[in-house]
Amino acid sequence: MTSPLVEIRDLEKQFDLSGSLLEQITFKDGRFQRKQEAVHAINGVNLQVHKGEALCVVGESGCGKSTVARTVMGLLSPTAGEIHYDGKRIDNLKGRDALPYRRKMQMIFQNPYASLNPRMTIQQTLEEPVRFHQPDLSQSEVRAKVQEVMQSVGIDPDWGARFGHEFSGGQRQRIAIARALAVDPEFIVADEPISALDVSIQAQVLNLMMEAQETRNLTYLFITHDLAVVEHFGTRVAVMYLGRVCELADTKTLFANPRHPYTQALLSAIPKLEDERPNYIRLQGEVPTPVNLPSGCVFHGRCPHANERCRTEVPRLIATDANVQVACHAVEEGRL
């Protein structure tokens, strides 16, 4: 296998809850104690994104999938772990050193109503990145570039003088995609790019992204909670739960034969037309708080197959088949 384009190694991200030193000190049991709390958003994530693929990350709200996306893009700095791009470590780069990677890696955001600057026209929004990253281009070359990306996302270049709020949600998301494409990136992180859109528009934007992938040789890290989109769009799927990857497999295998108990429950929850009496797996309890993580496997409290080992030992991602990796003791031991 060729070396991955993007590699995430043992990534951890914690958000501090306890505030300043003064706020951390509490008086309890007759003495002062210093109490520090943090949300453990990502707890040791390992992922590899290969050139040309679309790796989908799925999971329920709060499982850390958006945090992974933002950490990869450098919007958040990891608490521990490393991010490599094309074999080079990028999570510790600052300022000028990071610029070449800014051009190669771009991001599409969830909310097209907030991701365009309301005081800038579309032309300005699209020209600025091109000028910034290719300062030696002439005025007409910049315009030609902007025109090209606008046409490629299906936005009339004559609309450039308008502002973002004059467009519909789908059009704005196209413009946001055009902005990302304007700097000719290789790798695009899409953080739930279609979840804020009308259902009738979702397919259009998705097709646009697949078209762009083909014509521009893009690699995607696609964050979503829509399993239908994953089946349509993804090359491989990573399922996350409480900041850990519990299963990583190529899309067909995952949907045909989910191995991890959480994946099984997740996939059984997809509504199907032919089912009159859906036979989905009911999980007990709720997702534990990421402030106090459960010991061992984060899923053990809700897993019907959990035993003593699951309560104490953290399962590692282990390859079971050629294209499947599962983090589950029961699968590893053959109990499941």
Partner: protein, 310 residues
């Protein structure tokens, strides 16, 4: 909108701003009055019948002449004369000019300081925010007038009356501008805190844009609406502060009077029947401040994000 290219002027004419202005009679009237006063002040050297700064044109024999229509009025002085024999109309025109210059100048200085510190505090956060906002708190705990009186007295004592007269206008702009910047800084900081969480700022960061570019080109234009509203009201406040200082004798000298120092100079003669020296500049000051405040009120209603998003 059907046409593809729309000019800025068309955009303005179709905007909510222009629409609400056209419908608000108070705003239109205030704007016309303010415009007339600003024009009269700007073109004072052409409009005024006499030059109150030119000592050669002043005749002490003309002092305390009443306005036209009263007994003993001289048709050469439509609004009468002051205690030194200066034509009151000309002096008011020049005085409005001084007052407006101080008002706009002080607000310009306030805005520069306030926007800069507010942006830095809001966007960088952390220690920068804590330090800048504590400075602002300390600054706000001194009353503007108190600071101005102390600084003014020190200036007057160290430069002497003659020199003080020349630098008085700059000193007033400086004092009022520096004393009031926290008002604008706090507003800007609050807007920046709201704006910097939006995804367009993340998009700019992902593009690799530097911090100054994100602050000034992406966030600042989105925080301008409240600055305009506060700035308008602050112009009126600055004019009042200047008038108060002048009235206390720490503002503009009598040789280049502002509206405030005119009121003060006439105040000594109000008992002897020369009421017009105080009353007419006082009316001008009240009207000036009133129309600016009315415009500010209207602007606040228009730019309220809950009423209008744009």
């Amino acid at each position: 909108m059907t046409t593809a290219t729309v000019s800025r002027w068309d955009r303005f004419r179709e905007s909510f701003f222009w629409y609400s202005f056209k419908r608000d009679k108070v705003a239109i009237a205030s704007f016309i009055v303010l415009l007339l006063m600003v024009l009269a002040a700007v073109f004072a050297p052409m409009l005024a019948p006499a030059d109150p700064y030119d000592l050669a044109q002043i005749d002490i024999m003309n002092s305390e002449l009443p306005p036209a229509g009263l007994d003993g009025a001289d048709p050469a002085f439509p609004l009468g004369t002051d205690a030194q024999g200066r034509d009151l109309l000309s002096t008011i025109l020049y005085g409005t000019r001084v007052s407006l210059m101080i008002g706009f100048g002080a607000v310009l200085l306030q805005s520069i300081l306030g926007v800069l510190f507010g942006l830095l505090a809001g966007y960088l956060g952390g220690k920068v925010d804590a330090v800048l906002m504590r400075i602002a708190d300390v600054q706000l705990s001194f009353s503007t007038l108190m600071v101005a009186i102390i600084v003014g007295a020190v200036f007057k004592a160290s430069f002497g009356n003659l020199m003080f007269g020349e630098i008085a206008i700059y000193m007033l702009i400086f004092i009022i501008g520096v004393a009031e910047w926290p008002q604008i800084a706090r507003t800007v900081r609050a807007s920046v805190l709201a704006e910097k969480k939006k995804e367009y700022v993340d998009a700019a960061k992902v593009m690799g844009f530097g911090t100054p570019r994100i602050m000034f080109r992406h966030i600042l234009p989105n925080t301008l609406s409240p600055i305009f509203v506060i700035g308008t009201v602050q112009i009126a406040n600055a004019i009042i502060s200047e008038a108060a200082l002048s009235f206390l004798g720490l503002g503009m000298p009598e040789t280049q009077p502002s509206l405030g120092s005119l009121i003060k100079s006439g105040f000594d003669y109000i008992q002897s029947g020369s009421w017009w020296i105080t009353l007419i500049p006082g009316l001008v000051l009240v009207v000036l401040v009133l129309v600016i405040n009315l415009l500010g009120d209207w602007l606040r209603d228009v730019m309220n994000p809950r009423l209008y998003k744009g």
